[in-house]
Symmetry: C2
Subunit: 653 residues, 2 copies
């Protein structure tokens, strides 16, 4: 599932960084031996809560060893503009913190890893928690250490915008969705004549288009955790991080936090929050709105923060979203720290919904937890075309029965809007709705299911626009559609699947591929007679001529470019089992071409890519989201539109 497997390889060798290192780094965003978090170039919303973490590193061996213990007498100052630097304790009028110490180890490169020669680093550290800067402008944060060394960080508090311009925000995230995928989905879901589409994607109708750059703080490829953090907090971070910068300590719960859009919106305005995803709910994109941890795999923590917010430190007061809809029932019926969260949510007055029928029937006046399956939710293609694939032991109650009555993203989103609208009154609401399995199906090279999820997202956006229009709230709702990162995917032509299957030799099978003029026209609308409640989906998912489509970073696999009728694809399998050595799955892509992968062989799926991803905007402040910008600017744009900046501390926090 998702990118987690590949990432854990990195996590196992520990967080890293250094001028020379690349594959591994001593500690991200800290190329020197003195580390300041938030680091250089961090931007803040005026009044946004954040923690400060300071670390001084003393490598005991390796290329950076200096033969000294880490400096314990480091100092840290802050200065606004040209003002004189003040000690951090004076600047914020806070007590000094306790000195902490630990060690960690990392590999400087792959040769060191092969030789099993880690570099060990001794650390002294401090943290200052729940601070805020209210005055816009540039600040210089300076860590002085090792008798004359210093690490400077320039921080920027963005200009104040306290006026609220939108009542509501809907943030749609197509996880892993790129322009290339939108183009492919349009081709199979919409009819065209002589090169002109006869209907439009809803996102194509949005008046403003932007591109956001997804680069992480310490790697140019991002995962869904740190990209969610960038979009929700305005702070770039490290792979696997949710709402924190990654420090080098052992605990995943003490890293320096930054406040999220959901937390700020609720704290300052009392506005209501909804979270909807087709993933398991503890997954990164929904989790990022409330969780603060270096390890996205801390699912118990994530679910607890949905309900209770941060409890191990003083932090934003949080009392739960109005709506939490998705999959991942195992995190709700399996105890975490002796609590089961179906029970915990019910205790706080949530209706517990476990199927589509009860979702549609639920009153809009009460808060609702809807968990419709264990693991990720069923895909649109299986719910609508290949329904027998739903016969798995995925019931959200944990009774091992199938979860046959699952809603789609559209039904969850429309119900969320009903509840949020009913309950929030004049305070307004913020809804994040995620089409998670665009990403999950691209990971397993199951292009058809991924495009089905993308078309379902577009259908959901269309239904949302219609509903908001009918209820006269379209003009007071900012709608954003974006993604958190890309996958290297595109369509290069067509495949004559009948010809492909009829050939016996791989080199001859390649003749089945038609490029340029030979790509011809999409047959997904021209043949077949499938009909659904929703209109813009393929009329056939297995025409003779399919798309010559794919990813660029793959495990070994066999490609026949045909729909996977038996359920989501498994392109590669471990041979032998538990070897971490994946080969093409002999049961997958029969009659296809055997293709050797390019990824390290412990990968059983594709990985994310660098590409800028699109942003479609409509509603109040839409003009803030045109052109090309950094992912963090999405946070600042939403915060500006909601008027969340504060030039002075609120009376009560």
């Amino acid at each position: 599932m998702s990118s987690f497997k590949s990432i854990s390889v990195a996590a196992a060798v520990l967080l890293a960084g250094s001028v020379s290192a690349q594959t591994f780094q001593r500690l991200g965003a800290c190329p020197t031996l003195g580390c300041v978090f938030p680091p250089d170039q961090a931007d803040f919303l005026a009044g946004q809560f954040f923690d400060i973490r300071l670390e001084v590193h003393a490598p005991k061996n390796g290329t950076e060893a200096i033969g000294l213990p880490p400096d314990e007498k480091f100092t840290f100052t802050l200065a606004k503009g040209d003002e004189a630097p003040k000690p951090v304790t004076e600047y914020f009028a806070i007590q000094d913190s306790k000195l902490e110490n630990w060690t960690f180890s990392w590999y400087e490169d792959l040769f060191a890893r092969d030789a099993k020669k880690p570099t060990v680093v001794d650390v002294r550290a401090k943290a200052y928690r729940r601070l805020a800067l209210y005055e816009p402008g540039e600040y210089t944060a300076t860590l002085n250490y090792n008798n004359g060394s210093s690490t400077k960080a320039t921080w920027l508090v963005r200009d104040l915008a306290e006026e609220r311009k939108t009542k509501n925000v809907v943030l749609f995230i197509g996880d892993g969705m790129t322009t290339n995928m939108i183009t492919a989905a349009r081709l199979i879901g919409h009819k065209s004549i002589n090169g002109k589409y006869q209907s439009k994607m809803q996102m194509d109708k949005f008046p403003v288009l932007g591109h956001q750059m997804t680069h992480s703080i310490d790697s140019f490829i991002t995962d869904s955790a740190n990209s969610a953090s960038a979009i929700y907090t305005g702070h770039k971070s490290t792979v696997n991080c949710l709402g924190v910068y990654a420090d080098s300590s052992k605990s995943p719960f003490d890293d320096p936090k930054v406040e999220t859009i959901a937390e700020i919106f609720h704290r300052l305005t009392g506005g209501h929050v909804g979270i909807v995803s087709t993933a398991f709910l503890a997954d990164a994109t929904p989790a990022g709105l409330t969780a603060h941890t270096r390890a996205r795999s801390e699912y118990g923590h994530v679910v607890d923060t949905f309900l209770n917010g941060i409890t191990n430190y003083t932090w934003t007061k949080w009392d739960g979203p109005d709506v939490l809809f998705g999959g991942g029932a195992e995190q709700f019926y399996t105890p975490y720290l002796n609590k089961t969260y179906y029970t915990e949510f019910a205790k706080k007055g949530y209706q517990i919904l476990q199927n589509r029928t009860s979702l549609l029937a639920a009153p809009n006046t009460e808060r609702a937890l809807g968990v419709f399956t264990t693991s990720n939710m069923a895909k649109w293609l299986d719910r609508n075309v290949y329904r027998s694939n739903l016969n798995q032991s995925l019931s959200p109650t944990g009774d091992k029965k199938p979860a046959l009555d699952q809603p789609g993203l559209k039904e969850m989103t429309l119900k969320a809007i009903d509840i949020l609208s009913e309950r929030s009154g004049d305070k307004g609401w913020f809804l994040m709705s995620e089409a998670a399995s665009i990403d999950k199906m691209m990971h397993v090279l199951d292009y058809d299911r991924a495009l089905g999820e993308l078309l379902e997202l577009d259908d959901t956006i269309k239904a949302t626009v219609n509903k908001l229009n009918e209820t006269n709230s379209l003009k007071e709702t900012l709608i954003l559609v974006t993604a958190d990162h890309g996958h290297g995917f595109d369509v290069m032509g067509s495949v004559d699947t009948r010809y492909l299957a009829a050939q016996n030799v791989d080199r001859k099978k390649r003749d089945a591929i038609g490029v340029y003029q030979n790509s011809g026209l999409s047959q997904y609308q021209n043949t077949g007679n499938l009909t659904y409640t929703d209109s813009n989906f393929p009329k056939s998912w297995d025409p003779r001529y399919t798309l010559f489509q794919g990813l660029m970073a793959d495990p070994d696999r066999r490609e026949n470019w045909s729909v996977h009728k038996d359920g989501p694809r498994t392109p590669a399998v471990e041979v032998p089992e538990d070897s971490d050595d994946y080969y093409a799955n002999p049961k997958d892509g029969k009659d296809g071409i055997l293709l050797n992968g390019t990824l390290p062989v412990e990968n059983d799926q594709g990985v994310h890519s660098l590409t800028d991803v699109p942003v479609f905007a409509m509603g109040p402040c839409q003009e803030l989201f045109g052109g090309v910008y950094n992912s963090v600017d999405l946070f600042f744009g939403m915060a500006e539109c909601l008027g969340l900046g504060r030039g002075t501390p609120p009376a009560e926090q």
Copy 2:
């Protein structure tokens, strides 16, 4: 070069179309046996010249055979809105045309091709030439044939916009350039700190962003010829077509034409035109502004139309561009129809420039033909870093000496603006400037050279904005930056090239690839000490950690993800020679991973992709180019901004 090789395979089996056919079609945009060009869904600018071609097909064998000869008594009518249909001769007050007849053959699918069983089609046809519709609105064109059959085409003349809002237009085309490539170029050309770029691409600064859909009229993948036609004429067409719809006749010079933006602009306003490209000048993207032929490979015709316009039919009066700069000297010193075009251009008063030095020194008062090399121009990477690769027999005089003193896109573009500005006076100018080798280098999987060309394009745009600003013409110039199609390219991580080379086994070499957090940061700005006149290019092209980048549709090849220092890459070679069977080039990508391709084995290079491509707009009418739209809308947007629509025929044509 470019995509032509792959396309000629399709051309060899002839143009095709039919409801069931896909890889091959009887005739594009004609699924029935009665063909109307312009076909259904065609849009027109009011007053734009076009030809009509009508064909009636009678397949003699195959699935569509009806056992009858083609109807010779077909009729054709036109009706505006609900008006009564009139015969075409009456509608336009023209004489009827001569009945033509021919046969052609095609394969219905790959099995038929393997069995060498072509389908033969008997054709009757007529053509009506240089017509125009002046009244905006919807028209119904009807071909009646075969005693009761009819083919209807709905034509739309777009709303009139006669008011001119911009004096000048610069249309930059990054051939084959996608958002993914822009992201990659930014990563290697601009320094970032903690996920924030310290400088911006010029195109990232443009206020308006759009996406255009590149779908061809009869295939979803496009080549540079028919996409240039869409952008320049507002009419989608078929692969290989320049400014025409493809009919089924044998001649590549009698297909139905549509007038281009350059022709209309010059005809109606007397405005001046400039054409700049880093390709050979007869290549599709420059050619599309003046040529009208089904076969982009008719280079002699193309070069003649640059100078003389269309001469085999009455058409738009054309007397040559002010500026024509690029490569492809062999089409200027080799005779075509007993004329050599260096001489022909000189006769008409053009200065002939053959190197950078003479380009820079040339007076701005005279028209100029600049041809700086045979074939495509040298790449930025070879001109600036690996200069010894320029030692080839490519002199533009044809004397087999090297072409060492070649200008770059920036120098050609700035000089073009100087000449156009000087000569056009109040009439204004239209300049097309193409970074052609983004495409050409992506075709040969030479990612570094492709990204170098993209950075050079951005540098050219920056210099153009600065020049227009300095001369107070920025506000009266619409600048568009776009592409004509994509390639399935992205970056998925980093490659430790030292580790890759040190391993002996392909599966172990794959460990050199770092994904997610292990991608680390770009080393193209962090290491190396290359400096150039231009600022935003890599400081090193061969850092230890390179980009894990690539295309998705490939020939067999060996990848080591390292810069190709000896000149543009040759990923695959014919084995044995002249076999049309390409294998990985044993001299390419040494120490790399051997990867089997997915394309038909006669391909020695990658192919285009489906993806929507970006449009960046700045200047008068910039607001017309935001959001998502069809490629033809670029033509209509430029025409609207230049005020080129006409509600009545001009006094003189």
